[in-house]
């Protein structure tokens, strides 16, 4: 909440100056926060002493990109990485995600902590109540295996279906 309160006014002011709406400012700002978070946890940037300025920089970039492409909802898709560009995805990741959220919420939470939030393993051990670092790591691999198998089954079923 602190960062939201500190950084949103500058982004809102910029978007307003550029002729954007409140909702436009909100969308751009929230996407900028996600990008800022991902860059921070992946250690691709040093922790900023002036994080508001950094978030504003990302927001300006997103705004310019949106304006250039004249697309209303460019947002995070422009920040897809190599993994996401790898190949066409069928069935859609959204459908798979929905399935995995329902069928394996706990595993998704553990994998998110490891891979998305990039939390240290001892923190994850504590957070999820594992007996030790080793069992947390074993669980991570078990969950990855489970998710991978689910994706494989769903994809193969889809491929059979469209053939």
């Amino acid at each position: 909440m602190t960062l939201y309160k500190k950084a949103f006014p500058a982004v809102a002011k910029y978007v307003s100056k550029m002729g954007g709406s409140f909702d436009g400012a909100k969308d751009i700002f929230q996407d900028a926060l996600v990008i800022y978070y991902e860059k921070t946890v992946s250690a691709s940037i040093e922790l900023q002493t002036n994080e508001q300025a950094y978030v504003l920089g990302i927001a300006k970039h997103l705004w310019a990109k949106k304006f250039r492409e004249n697309v209303l909802h460019t947002s995070l898709d422009t920040y897809r990485d190599d993994i996401m560009d790898e190949e066409d995805m069928q069935p859609s990741p959204a459908k798979l995600l929905h399935y995995l959220e329902t069928a394996g919420q706990k595993c998704m939470e553990i994998l998110k902590a490891f891979y998305y939030d990039n939390l240290p393993v001892n923190k994850i051990t504590e957070l999820f109540g594992y007996s030790g670092v080793r069992s947390a790591t074993v669980q991570k691999y078990k969950c990855m295996e489970k998710v991978r198998e689910t994706i494989k089954e769903k994809n193969l079923a889809y491929e059979d279906f469209i053939e």
């Binding site: 949103f8 909100k26 691999y141």
Partner: protein, 86 residues
């Protein structure tokens, strides 16, 4: 489990030169392994989407508080004033 780690290291370019050689050798011995790499990459895409979805929900909840709770009224007015016509 070692296989998952080996593939992770390959996906994120974190393995040693020996790990890369080992993966190459395993791919020759077991061509089906290339499919496992494919599924694991997809798994990472989905984990990232899941993470983003959760983070965006958290951010939206902060936004809702700031723009609906009376305690934040001065902040809210300060922002809304920027978008007032004229």
């Amino acid at each position: 489990m070692n296989e998952i780690k080996l593939i992770d290291d390959h996906i994120f370019n974190q393995g040693t030169h020996e790990d890369a050689l080992l993966l190459d050798a395993l791919l020759i011995l077991n061509p089906a392994l290339s499919n496992q790499i494919r599924w694991q990459k997809k798994a990472h895409t989905i984990i990232k989407q899941y993470g983003r979805k959760k983070l965006k929900a958290e951010i939206e909840s902060v936004h809702r508080k700031l723009f609906h709770e009376p305690i934040h009224q001065s902040f809210r007015l300060r922002i809304l004033r920027l978008f007032r016509p004229g």
